[in-house]
Amino acid sequence: MKRCAQILVRIYARLLSLYPRQYRADYGEELQTVFSLVVNEAAQQGRFSVIRLGWRELRDLPGAVIREYLREGRKRKMETSTITPAGDGRSSWGETLAGLWPFLLGPVSVIVEYLTMPAWFQYSETPKYLSIVFVLSMLVGLGVGWAKGWPRWSYPYLGFAMVVGGLAIGGTVSSMVFTVGPEWPVLPQVLIAVGAFGLIVGILTLIARAWRPLHSLYRGIRQDWTRLSFGLFTGMLVLFGGGGIDHDEDPIFTLNVFMPSLIVLVGALVYLRSTTKVQRILALLASLTLAVAVRVVGGKIFYGTYGAVVGVIVLIPALLELLPRPAKSLQAG
């Protein structure tokens, strides 16, 4: 029985590695000591006591581990919110890279596609593995962003999910309303897409306000509305054909197709490295205007209309920052 107790103590020591690092540093030794005492006592009482003890510990462990991670996350969030002034501060280079990843994936996929595609094969869909990488990246970004309390870099992931959701709903409604074909009226479709998109943003904001796990998202947006604009800025990737892939072009890899995506990427970089809200608004405005202008000058006039619509949607939240704020909302942030 003594040997059995020793084995249990060893297993328990291994299981402690499931806890957050800081928690292990604080309580690991104490937990092990107490467990050793408890298991030795149970061993003296007999086999069933040891089994009961083992079952009790195993049953409670997963919940306790999850609670400790959540508690640590909350502590970190509170520490961050006391250290970082509301909405200000420059993202670190690691955070910047994480925030740029959705914008980088498009151009990277074009380069990979261009380099790996046979010369005679000019028209192709994006390779499936790139789509998988893209979707997985988005899910990971959303998950990590949520766990870390929605820092600034995570908004493109959220924005991309909203843009895709808006397009899916808008597209479905459009296909139900209009007959399939090249003669679809453009303006009503745009209005439906914008309406669906606005609906998604509104619903998300309401959920974030009402549902405790998303409160940090709501607080983050209230603190700095440019974050929401930055998230919606990923709509530019969709506008420019998934970051530089334009299958109407022949060949698909031209500077004209690629440039707007690069401008959007630089805009996102400037946004993440800027220190004031005015700089952030200017970064979004300048890159939006320049990217659309390049496309229009390049011969695609209709990008002017789409760009204007997308640009207005993207910039509306950021422009809210220019309105005077009541003192209460500043404190609440």
Partner: protein
């Protein structure tokens, strides 16, 4: 861990902390007369509850962590002779003033519940 490391606290008021869960109540009750280390708390909770509440180590330390965050207890060195020795935890826990107030408030709350129940059940019996 040094007590000063607990920089992020949410100070609990008696009313905001109530009602307490059964394990939390027993842990605070166990610490009411004197400071104890984790193992002593486990044994005392079992004894106080007539063996009905047997805490696992993870539940105990989860509850202790929350109580520390709420400043209802404090973590101190386990330096008393009878509590020290090979194989015993080197840290102990002590009830804070705020913890004592919460414990008293919870006891009063339960006393009122019991009084109400006795009154009603007594009326029905007669």
């Amino acid at each position: 861990m040094d007590e000063k490391e607990h920089t992020i606290h949410t100070q609990a008021t008696p009313s905001s902390s109530l009602p307490l869960t059964e394990p939390t109540f027993y842990i605070l009750l166990s610490l009411a007369p004197e400071k104890k280390h984790g193992y002593a708390i486990l044994k005392d909770v079992e004894a106080l509850s007539d063996g009905n509440v047997r805490l696992s180590t993870s539940t105990l330390y989860g509850a202790l962590g929350r109580l520390l965050d709420q400043r209802l207890i404090e973590r101190v060195p386990n330096d008393e002779e009878e509590n020290t020795g090979p194989g015993l935890p080197r840290k102990a826990y002590v009830l804070s003033e705020a913890g004592r107030r919460v414990l008293e408030a919870e006891t009063n709350r339960m006393r009122a519940l019991v009084a109400a129940a006795r009154l009603r059940l007594g009326e029905e019996c007669t």
